[in-house]
Amino acid sequence: MCARIAALSYYLPERLVSNGDLQAENPTWDMERVGQKTGIESRRVAAADQTATDLAFAAAERLFSNSSVRRDEIDYLLFCTQSPDHALPASSCILQNRLLLSVNCGAIDFNQGCSGYIYGLQLANALISSRSARNVLLLTGETYSKYIHPQDRSVRVLFGDAATATVISEDRPGALVVATEVGTDGAGCNNLIVPIGGARRPYAGESLREVCDENGSIRTEANLFMDGQELFAFTLKRVPALVNRLLEKTGLTAEQVDTFVFHQANAFMNEHLRTKMHLPKEKVPLSLQDVGNTVSNTIPLTLSRIAPQLTPGSKVMLVGFGVGYSWGACQLEWGEVEVSND
């Protein structure tokens, strides 16, 4: 049984925060330099009352409106998020109801970030191959903005909110999931983390104290913390090896892969990875200038945007890496995908 990506869509919240806006708010930040290094000029941010399920709902509705996939065909919903509506129930149950999906539809959340889309494809492929599902709706939705302290430059300039929807199907035409490869190293768990708010460290007065770090960024322990240098070192160590493992599995060479869609961390890091792996620029698209790093959304969002340039049969490798640490890659053989762009 073959699993194919049959349809794709994404949704961005309306509010746009430009580098100019951040500069006006924080006169000491050198936003011109930040923009040059990160390749990010603006990012979209969810409204105060807009959550990841709202964004994912909008992405899914767009997919149903613009593709031939009917909602009653969906028999499994996978929702990748690290900003669920509640500690419980699963946000996917809320989405099943809002999207009017069948009550015979499975629905689970999974907590992954930048590798999440690869995990979603791997799980969808496994569900279809095992005949547990025929049409899987994979949603990614993230609102890191809600975890970010407004005066924490290290993360505020990078991250944006977004959601995407993908249908993986057993009998529709589409992009074939050829192979996947994943990996984990929880030793890096503290380098990209929201330390409190879960059961290990519940909210308490003292931990909400604002602390200024050596770079002048301010945050509490209920905010997102990122050690950019550690993340960079991790990426250099793991990502080239990950790509090689998947190439070995598929028997392809890097030259035979037509397009590499990397997680869009920031332009600086992605450019360095590209040169380190000796990949030509035209094979490695960047799409973060107007959206920033949208965590689990970056890969499907980039894929949606470049889809018009992809030809059936072309070989596309997707590569995700980050929070966890967690990483994964997926080899696709491109086909007829119904894409609804912004």
């Binding site: 240098q229 250099l236 600086f268 360095h272």
Partner: protein
């Protein structure tokens, strides 16, 4: 890899003249030696010498010389 080559590399990352970098000085004395500059240094070291610095090591560096010594030691092991 010579000390001078490393200082040249730091100067590139800091976008300044190599002659303005004094190995005895604390890193904190260079205002432009911020988290973005470190990312460039990590990337240049990886690109030119395949040497990786971790965030933990970086936080332990006080002077420019500390960085030079650490990188030189890594190069000799590699």
């Amino acid at each position: 890899m010579t000390n001078q080559e490393l200082i040249q590399l730091f100067a590139e990352a800091l976008e300044c003249e190599a002659s303005s970098i004094d190995p005895q000085q604390p890193i904190a004395a260079y205002g432009e030696w911020n988290s973005l500059a470190w990312l460039t240094i990590i990337s240049l070291l990886d690109e030119r010498y395949e040497i990786q610095l971790t965030g933990k090591e970086i936080r332990g560096f006080v002077t420019v010389n500390d960085v030079i010594e650490s990188v030189t030691a890594k190069a000799s092991v590699a």
